[in-house]
């Protein structure tokens, strides 16, 4: 028993992996001990997800050793890794959209009865139990299609947790979650740890790393840097190891002159998503739209931009009505939307980085009706450089970029359009600290230059750090509007969890 406790559940040493000319991983190393939660941190593109995929059996490593409970293994497929007791939550949710939530959780290992008949009732009740444990309310019979990223992530977690695995690997599981769900996840993770399983946790949020993990491994440029006990190291130490330098202010908010109202939303209603949403954004102002996951914030953004329709209400830009359901005219009016799902909405994953970066300014690049690859590349270069997108080349397929770098390309694409109003849904999801402060700095600067910014964020520090004004949504309604000086974690969270009336009453009480 004690012997077992000292053999690592999973150990990789000197692992390398190349994709053609791109070296994704040069010297990957990690050791997961049973009964422990191990954090893996590193900049975007450091090779974390690649390491995960090697563990998962999706990629074959080029060199290095990989042992599972002391025995060398060589997975040729994800099925083999799964059979060996490794459960993986990938960075991007991978659900079957047409299948029900229940089927998604149990695919390939459904409980069966006589002659292989699936026991559907049993499966359903187990899923209900799982959802209860995770503290979420998702209909087990609904198809995965149309679930928000957060809900999808939760199902991924349910899937992995219900697998009775020796090692649970989680690649940024919390990127799409807000505080409440994160806390639930952590409780479960701790429970699994106490059962003696080995867990690996990747995140760009250091507060999470420190509150959950026992050990932390830092990677940089595809190579292992160091492993420390979380108890004996500090955030700034890790950031230094990770980035190779000190990161200045994470929320470099600059004061800007607040000007005219440029975006006005009046009584926007869409059945089942949100109702009676009214607010305005002025030039030079950063307005945050806060709330719990599933509050309907993204839906509001999509409706404003015209990707979705709405039943009632008006959207005005610079005093003029915006036709509904027409993204093109929204763009022409100076609107830009950085959507929440970069994989499906933000980028054409199979197109090149250059094409993607130039996608929002196609009409601007057109000369005499013609557009050339040269013009696209030129404009792409500028923004790729500004945001330090890490890619092998401009014609690399966007899907091969690391998660955070994909996010940067989406930002590049929309900043290139030089919008008057920027709606930005989870601007720094999956972005590393270094770049995060860079994105924040740039947002501040753009506001200062007169841009109106509507920022949807589930990260409270980001909301509090960046916003001039905070709008809080709950279940499709705006429950509070809080000026910067009054915004605090308590006020925002209270509004996010109570109805407008209650919030008002609470305010009067004070």
């Amino acid at each position: 028993m004690s012997d077992k406790a000292h053999t690592p559940t999973l150990e990789l040493k000197n692992v390398s992996k190349r994709f053609g000319p791109v070296v994704a991983l040069r010297r990957g190393q990690i050791t997961l001990m049973p009964g422990s939660i191990h954090a893996l941190v590193g900049e975007n593109g450091a090779g974390k997800s690649t390491l995960v995929k090697i563990i998962a059996g999706l990629y074959e490593r080029d060199s290095g050793t990989f042992t599972l409970e002391g025995k060398p293994v060589n997975f040729k497929s994800t099925a083999e890794a799964k059979a060996a007791g490794i459960a993986v939550i990938y960075q991007e949710p991978t659900l079957f959209p047409d299948l029900s939530v229940t089927e998604n959780v149990f695919m390939g290992r459904q409980p069966t009865g006589a002659i292989g008949r699936i026991d559907k009732a049993k499966m359903r009740s187990e899923v209900i139990g799982l959802m209860e444990r995770l503290g979420v309310d998702i209909d087990p019979d609904r198809p995965a299609e149309g679930l928000s990223i957060a809900d999808q992530q939760i199902i991924e977690i349910a899937k992995a947790v219900s697998l009775d695995a020796k090692a649970l690997i989680m690649d940024e599981p919390t990127a799409a979650l807000s505080g409440v769900e994160v806390e639930r996840l952590f409780q479960i993770a701790r429970g699994l740890r106490d059962e003696g399983r080995a867990l690996m946790f990747i995140s760009h949020r250091f507060d999470e790393v420190f509150s959950l993990c026992d050990t932390v491994t830092v990677m940089r440029d595809g190579a292992y840097i160091a492993t420390e006990e979380t108890a004996t190291t500090s955030e700034s130490e890790i950031i230094r190891q990770m980035v190779g330098r000190d990161v200045s202010d994470l929320f470099p908010k600059e004061t800007a002159d607040i000007g005219e109202v440029v975006l006005e939303v009046e009584g926007l209603t869409s059945t089942g998503n949100f109702s009676d949403i009214s607010f305005s954004v002025r030039s030079g102002e950063i307005v945050a739209l806060a709330g719990l996951v599933g509050a309907g914030r993204s839906e509001v953004a999509r409706a404003i931009f015209g990707v979705d329709g709405y039943e009632q209400g008006k959207v005005k830009v610079g005093g003029k009505n915006l036709p509904k359901g027409n993204p093109r005219s929204a763009m022409d009016a100076g609107l830009a939307l950085v959507p929440e799902d970069r994989r499906k909405q933000g980028l054409v994953m199979d197109a090149s980085v250059a094409r993607n970066a130039a996608d929002a300014i196609r009409s601007k690049l057109t000369k005499a009706g013609l557009i050339t690859a040269k013009a696209e590349n030129k404009s792409a270069q500028i923004w790729a450089r500004n945001l330090e997108v890490k890619t092998a080349s401009l014609d690399a397929v966007a899907g091969t970029l690391s998660g955070g770098n994909q996010q940067k390309v989406v930002l590049a694409k929309w900043l290139a359009a030089e919008p008057q109003i920027l709606i930005i849904d989870e601007p720094t999801r999956g972005i590393d600290v270094g770049t995060k402060s860079e994105v924040h700095r740039r947002m501040s600067q753009l506001a200062k230059e007169g841009m109106a910014i509507l920022m949807i964020s589930s990260e409270l520090p980001e909301v509090l750090g960046m916003a001039d004004r905070v709008l809080v949504m709950r279940e499709g309604h705006i429950t509070a509007e809080i000026p910067r000086e009054n915004a605090s974690p308590e006020t925002v969270m209270f509004a996010a969890t109570h109805s407008a009336d209650e919030v008002r009453r609470e305010g009067q009480d004070k």
């Binding site: 497929s77 083999e80 991978t94 079957f96 959209p97 299948l99 695919m107 390939g108 008949r117």
Partner: protein
């Protein structure tokens, strides 16, 4: 406690009933019944005569089995355009065997036909699954190749009914309790495949693979095997259809089943199998096949002039898929409204 157990079965039955009524398949069945009703009112012999009854049941059996296989392939996000050619080649193969060995038991003929179709399906499946290439291109290729082989083999030959053993031909008309044997075979296979697709791990994996192939791979599902098997099933079904053709029509030339691929895809799509994979049922596809076959049979009875019949068939196909879509939209709107109302309450 007792009240709970007492009401539970009733509500389960109710739930089942309402889910059946709401299902996509139900709309097709309804359309089919209306069609049969209208035609029968016009001419009662459409079902109330021995031949009419038999034809009503037996004629769809060929498209029905092909549609079963096609549905499995489409559900796993592929399409099999070679079914017509597989069917033709199998029909000729089985015809030739029966001519060479007339005393061969008919059941063996079915086995050989299915085996031969399976073999051709394996060719498709191996190319698509192991080559990891789109099924549409491969099967468009094998559509040409199999048909070419068929023409080359058959030459100007043609198998006539008179050359085939009576035992086989009788199958085309014989029935048990007025249900034609070919129909019984087709329905039995339909039920087996439908059960397999709905209730087994393997069956559900076709849906998963079709719903999102990338996710299926990340998840560790045996996608290659499933894609391969879907084509094998489709081949086997097309092979069976070839034998049914031989039994029912008796005359086999080199063009048997040409153009059948699009009918099979059409049947599956009308029956609610999403062309992008991941959803639909083989039962739906089967009803699509029955509807499609019966439409073209009832038009002459309904007095539609011969020249215009194909146009009416086309209009009805379009109408059926539009209607299905509208019903689906209504349904989802109602669900959203319901959810919203519940949330408010």
């Amino acid at each position: 406690m007792s009240t709970v157990t007492a009401t539970k079965p009733a509500s389960a039955a109710m739930r089942w009933f309402s889910s059946v009524v709401r299902s996509r398949e139900f709309a097709i069945v309804l359309a089919f019944l209306l069609l049969v009703l209208a035609t029968t009112l016009k001419n009662p012999r459409f079902i109330f005569s021995p031949d009419g009854w038999r034809d009503l049941l037996v004629t769809p059996s060929m498209l029905l089995v092909v549609a079963i296989g096609q549905a499995v392939v489409i559900i796993s996000r592929n399409v099999d355009l070679s079914v017509g050619s597989v069917m033709g080649l199998t029909a000729y193969c089985i015809g030739s065997i029966f001519i060479a060995v007339p005393e061969m038991p008919v059941i063996l003929g079915f086995v050989i036909g299915i085996a031969f179709g399976t073999l051709l399906g394996c060719v498709n499946g191996a190319l698509v699954a192991f080559g990891r290439v789109p099924g549409m291109v491969i099967t468009l290729g094998t559509l040409y190749v199999f048909r070419g082989i068929n023409v080359m083999w058959t030459g100007s030959n043609r198998i006539n009914a008179s050359e085939l053993p009576k035992g086989l031909l009788n199958l085309g008309t014989e029935s048990i309790l007025t249900i034609p044997i070919l129909t019984i075979i087709a329905v039995a296979i339909l039920l087996i495949v439908a059960w397999y697709m709905a209730n087994t791990r393997g069956g559900r994996e076709y849906y998963a693979v079709g719903s999102d192939p990338v996710a299926a791979e990340l998840y560790g599902l045996p996608s290659v095997k499933r894609v391969f098997l879907s084509f094998v099933i489709s081949g086997a079904m097309a092979g069976l259809a070839g034998v049914i053709f031989a039994a029912r029509y008796g005359t086999i030339d080199s063009q048997v089943g040409s153009g059948f691929e699009l009918q099979a895809v059409g049947a599956a799509v009308i029956g609610g199998v999403a062309i992008v994979g991941g959803s639909g049922t083989v039962i739906g596809a089967a009803f699509g096949a029955i509807l499609l076959t019966t439409i073209s049979r009832s038009l002459p009875v309904l007095g539609i002039p011969d020249f215009w019949q194909q146009a009416v068939v086309g209009a009805l196909i379009v109408g059926a898929i539009v209607l299905d879509r509208i019903l689906a939209l209504r349904q989802s709107q109602r669900l959203v409204a319901q959810r919203f109302a519940e949330e408010k309450a």
